[in-house]
């Protein structure tokens, strides 16, 4: 029999399924843990109240994240999700990918929507970076190429090399 994924002691009787960001996340829980997470399972009917779950989605990521996910951090800028929760400020554009599922839920609460339907940005012309900035970006790319080659991810390495060439051609 499957054990509860939260307490790992009691048998799981509930499978809580949640579709977030087009991905289905789920968890097998025992009755006690499910109740703790706000899923009120009626002992008589075995039916739980959907509004209880919806009302607790905000607390979902807090309580349901396994310990390793609680340390969730953005690989690009190093911002921890817990830091974002304190300040309300993200660290970089990549944070939107790093904390995607969490932010989707947050967006629904803030904006009543989870998808941009306004203007589409189509990009800009070549950027005239300062020498220092171009050099810094070249160093970052070189390090990333080295790491990709080390992992034998040659596809990524080729892509990064193209980006480096592009950057260097702009420096003239």
């Amino acid at each position: 029999m499957k054990l509860c994924e939260d307490c790992r002691k009691a048998p799981a009787v509930v499978f809580l399924k949640l579709a977030v960001n087009n991905k289905v996340t789920g968890m097998h829980l025992c009755q006690a843990c499910a109740a703790k997470k706000g899923v009120a399972l009626s002992s008589e009917t075995g039916i739980f109240n959907i509004s209880d779950i919806v009302g607790n989605i905000s607390g979902y990521f807090n309580d349901f994240l396994p310990p390793e996910r609680k340390m969730l951090a953005c690989p690009a800028c190093g911002l921890k999700y817990s830091q974002f929760k304190e300040t309300g400020r993200l660290g970089c554009p990549d944070c939107y990918k790093s904390f995607g599922p969490q932010l989707t839920e947050l967006m629904a609460r803030i904006h009543g929507s989870t998808r941009h339907t306004g203007r589409i940005y189509t990009g800009c012309g070549a950027l005239k970076l300062s020498k220092a900035e171009a050099a810094r970006r070249a160093e970052t790319l070189k390090a990333a190429i080295k790491a990709a080659v080390g992992k034998e991810d040659f596809e990524a390495a080729a892509r990064l090399r193209d980006a480096l060439r592009e950057l260097e051609s702009r420096r003239g």
């Binding site: 300040t87 939107y96 803030i110 998808r115 306004g118 589409i120 800009c124």
Partner: protein
């Protein structure tokens, strides 16, 4: 006195009583929050990278051709008084005035367009228009946004749109706000209920200088709370409907203040306020705003207050603490400011 004050006009066109409903809507502002791809957001970027962002932003603003004879201001080069002056003119936020990192602002010569650099987001582009003019302000702000976006790589994702440091601004990054003057609703005690129904419509009301500021002289900044999930035009239309409804409520309230025995009471309060503005020997800014609010409503009611609506509007800017000190040509202690304010007001009203 610092050079910066000489570069700025004594009067700004967006504070003139123009556009629709100038009796109730002082000005309209549309802003876009934008960030540059390839850089961390302001709160996590190193000072040298913020300096690079500012360099790129200033260059893009210059190339856009939208800021002829514009002001390019580096925050660290400005004193506290100069920063307060810019905040009082709504060109920079109190947050930008207080920052210690390489930040800046570009302000058009007409002072209708401006860009804050390295505030919470790398770029905050805005257009200010006189009166109730959401469409005009939106078009001008969009033109600025497109001009800068053609030179600078904005952070953009298909799902969440324009990416911002705070998720509350992501999506379109648009904030549409009207500075509404609602003295009659305030006098009738109708504001708490009105603010509550606004919040249910997804609209926020704040003080005169925006987030975290007090309501002065019955001026409320009314703005959209959400900015993701609808088009920019839809957000504009929604705000247009909300503000029109608010205008209607204020007109109703003003009519009530002129009905039957209420009229004498209103007249008395308005003329007393005008008398205070004309006769006071010291006047704090909040006291000025309180009396000015009634006198401004008096002008709208067709009574002779000694000045027209545009002049009252300009005075709400000129009577602010940093503006008073700019006019005096030196830093003044609060008590000195209050005396200077009363003096200059008396001269205007004579």
């Amino acid at each position: 006195m610092a050079e910066i004050f000489k570069g700025f006009r004594p009067y700004v066109t967006w504070a003139n009583a123009r556009g629709a409903w100038p009796e109730m809507i002082f000005s309209t502002r549309v802003r876009f929050a934008r960030n540059l791809d390839g850089f961390a957001f302001t709160n996590r970027a190193a000072p040298d990278r913020l300096a690079e962002i500012r360099r790129l932003a200033f260059a893009a603003a210059k190339e856009s051709g939208l800021f002829p004879r514009g002001h390019y201001l580096k925050m660290e080069a400005l004193g506290a008084l100069e920063k307060n002056f810019l905040a009082e003119r709504h060109h920079i936020s109190p947050v930008l005035a207080a920052t210690a990192c390489p930040a800046g602002a570009v302000v058009a010569n007409d002072e209708d367009l401006s860009v804050m650099v390295n505030e919470e987001d790398h770029l905050r582009l805005q257009c200010l228009s006189a009166g109730f003019a959401i469409e005009d302000a939106f078009k001008a702000a969009l033109k600025l946004d497109e001009a800068l976006g053609a030179k600078l790589p904005y952070s953009f994702g298909e799902e969440f749109g324009f990416l911002t440091a705070c998720p509350t601004n992501a999506g379109t990054g648009i904030r549409i706000s009207c500075l509404a003057h609602l003295p009659a609703m305030a006098r009738l005690g109708r504001m708490p209920a009105a603010l509550e129904s606004l919040s249910r419509l997804g609209v926020i009301a704040r003080g005169i200088y925006g987030e975290g500021t007090y309501v002065l002289g019955d001026f409320y900044q009314i703005a959209n709370a959400a900015c993701l999930g609808r088009s920019e035009e839809e957000f504009c239309r929604n705000m247009d409907t909300v503000v029109r409804n608010l205008i209607r409520q204020e007109i109703d309230a003003r009519e009530l203040l002129l009905k039957g025995p209420a009229k004498l009471k209103t007249e008395d309060a308005v003329y007393r306020a005008a008398g205070l503005l004309r006769c006071a020997r010291t006047l704090s800014y909040s006291e000025f705003m309180q009396s000015m609010s009634l006198a401004r409503m008096g002008v709208a009611m067709g009574w002779d207050m000694g000045l027209d609506l545009s002049t009252f509007n300009q005075l709400t800017l000129l009577m602010q603490p940093a503006h008073i000190q700019a006019a005096a040509g030196r830093a003044l202690a609060p008590a000195e400011r209050d005396a200077f304010r009363a003096d200059s007001l008396r001269k205007k009203l004579q």
